[in-house]
Amino acid sequence: MKALVLLSRGLHPVSGKPCLPRADAQAARLAASLNRDAGGLHAGPSCETVCEALGRGLTQLTHLRLDGDPVPALVASLRDLKPDVVLAGPRGQGGEDTGLVPYVIAHALGWPLIPHAVELEAVDGGLRVTQALPKGARRFVTAPLPVLVTAHSGAPSPLPFAYGRARAGRIHEREAFSPPAAPDGFETRPYRPRPRVLAANVGAHARGRVLINPDPHDAAREILAYLRELGVFGQRSPT
């Protein structure tokens, strides 16, 4: 099964220095769990930063040298390389950070996209993805190949950096052309933090019902009735 990871150049959330985003390194680990010879794909002016992925589970990297919108070049390159599984982080880190690129690519190629993957397993003619759902629930999704998968933050943490493997990794340079990104008409300003609104209903029914020194069995009955009413107990199901 040919696995390929879309790598992006990120900025470190604290220092602001260029780095490989953690989510991309997690995606590289997931790809390495499928195939020992997994590759990476990066579109951008330089691949200096994303080469770190070679020390974190990938063996080769294809670099599309371009300036501008990377999506058309990535789509053309994926049609050319014909991988079975393409992995990506959920969103960039330090750029526009919209998380739209995997969706645009999957739509352009007509592939299914499975988000929030925490574990991958090759099955007969497909890929079995363990998907993280809200509230700690998990489910298994089996998709036909080829498929695009994005990693969840709860996926296994990145492989430790191996210097020797990073040196031994092969880099294929390719020239690509992309049209410049279309202007989005947004106004840009320095970021100004705003206070977050906390969940407003918290404390709204503070001082609810108080039972003072009830019989323990009455108290137990009341508590179970309340838990059933909330639906947390007795009918557990994800989503």
Binding site: L11, P13, G16, Q93, G94, D97, T98, G99, L100, V104, H107, P112, T130, A132, L133, P134, K135, G136, A137, R138, R139, F140, V141, A143, P144, G154, D184, F186, E187, T188, P190, Y191, R194, R196, V197, A199, A200, N201, V202, G203, H205, G208, V210, L211, I212, N213, P216, H217, A219, A220, I223, L224, L230, G231, V232, F233, R236, S237, P238, T239
Partner: protein, 355 residues
């Protein structure tokens, strides 16, 4: 301490005006009628917001797990009210409880489908049919995914993770919160958590509207099966239902049996962890884990401020404690003043009798 602060000015304004958006008018005629909007007094009861013929629609697509609106869902409905102003109507897409109180003028049910592509197809059809002026999603795992699928299908830009929204502008951070992007509200917006307070205006009618018949779509053959994860193995920060023990619990075998019988994730106070009775990973509070649970059941926990910080996001708290004046009793929606050691066996006996 947890009670919401009174706002006397807002109370006076509410007493002197009719409806949320009405201007304050002094009642010179002293007839007590004021300038009542026709909508305010209707069959649905006084103080109900009724939009009979909306000039335009704003969709708020909510996640509503198990038909229950999350905090982010309610914020999305509030943001839809900001964009609606006086002329339009807020359509809550997907059915859920408490729709009217949370600010839904209309409810548009979606068919349940585990395949997100099928849901996106449904929603794309609904958007093509009703032509809403704006569509809002919460920037959550489910909502953010659906929003991106729909935006890509329709080939329209998506404004992701708006942290501030008003009639004239939306803003979102970019480049790792170094800059922010600002624009007039586009058609498709997803809303970051905590961008806006939940809807607090008058009750809406949540009138059900009929969806057009569904077109058949070709879809990818995904097979989906649920993983029955053991609740005890769920990370505490993600758990939905947490039962926690504190200093008032001494029989930890009974506590563990109760937790597994209830199908909950175990938690503990700092006291129980310091004593070595529960693992440190189970500690709830400022120095342990901050929960996002739907329900928190505290046994023998008095509620130190650091512990209450850990349960600040929990919507429903049940507490058993011997002290009537404990902070946890004041925080709880259902409080039992009594010995947790006596309530635990009673609960276990009741659960066994039912099984």
């Amino acid at each position: 301490m947890n009670r919401l602060r009174r706002d006397p000015r807002a109370e006076r304004l509410a007493a002197e005006t009719l409806g949320a958006a009405a201007r304050r008018r002094l009642d010179w005629s002293q007839k007590g009628t004021g300038a009542a909007p026709a909508a305010a007094m209707d069959a649905a009861g006084p103080g109900t917001r009724i939009v009979e013929a909306p000039a335009f629609l704003v969709f708020a697509v909510v996640d509503a797990p198990r038909d229950h609106l999350t905090a982010q869902d309610r914020q999305t409905l509030a943001a839809a009210h900001v964009l609606v102003g006086n002329g339009g109507a807020v359509v809550m897409v997907r059915a859920a409880e408490n729709a009217a109180e949370s600010g839904a003028d209309r409810t548009l049910p979606l068919e349940v489908d585990p395949d997100p592509d099928a849901l996106a197809d449904q929603l794309t059809d609904l958007i093509a049919h009703f032509q809403p002026r704006h569509v809002l999603w919460p920037e959550s795992e489910v909502g953010g995914d659906l929003a991106r699928r729909v935006a890509v299908r329709l080939g329209e830009p998506l404004f992701c993770g708006a942290e501030q929204i008003s009639v004239n502008s939306v803003r979102r951070p970019a480049q790792g919160r170094r800059i922010e992007r600002r624009a007039k509200p586009p058609r498709f917006i997803t809303l970051a958590d905590g961008a806006i307070a939940s809807y607090a205006g008058p009750r809406c009618e949540a009138r059900l509207i009929e969806a057009p018949p569904r077109k058949a779509h070709v879809r990818a053959h995904l097979s989906v099966e649920d993983a029955h994860a053991h609740p005890a193995a769920t990370p505490l920060a993600e758990a939905d239902f947490v039962v926690a023990a504190g200093n008032g619990v001494s029989d930890f075998d009974a506590f563990r049996r109760l937790v597994s019988a209830l199908g909950a994730t175990p938690g503990a106070s700092r006291m129980a962890c310091d004593a070595g009775l529960m693992p440190r990973s189970a500690q709830v509070g400022a120095s342990g884990t901050v929960l996002a649970a739907h329900c928190y059941f505290a046994l023998g926990i008095a509620g130190a401020p650091q512990h209450l910080q850990g349960v600040a996001n929990c919507e429903n708290v049940v507490a058993v404690n011997t002290d009537l004046h404990a902070a946890m009793i004041a925080r709880a929606a259902l409080a039992v003043v009594g010995d947790a050691q006596a309530v635990m066996p009673a609960l276990l006996a009741l659960l066994e009798a039912e099984a």
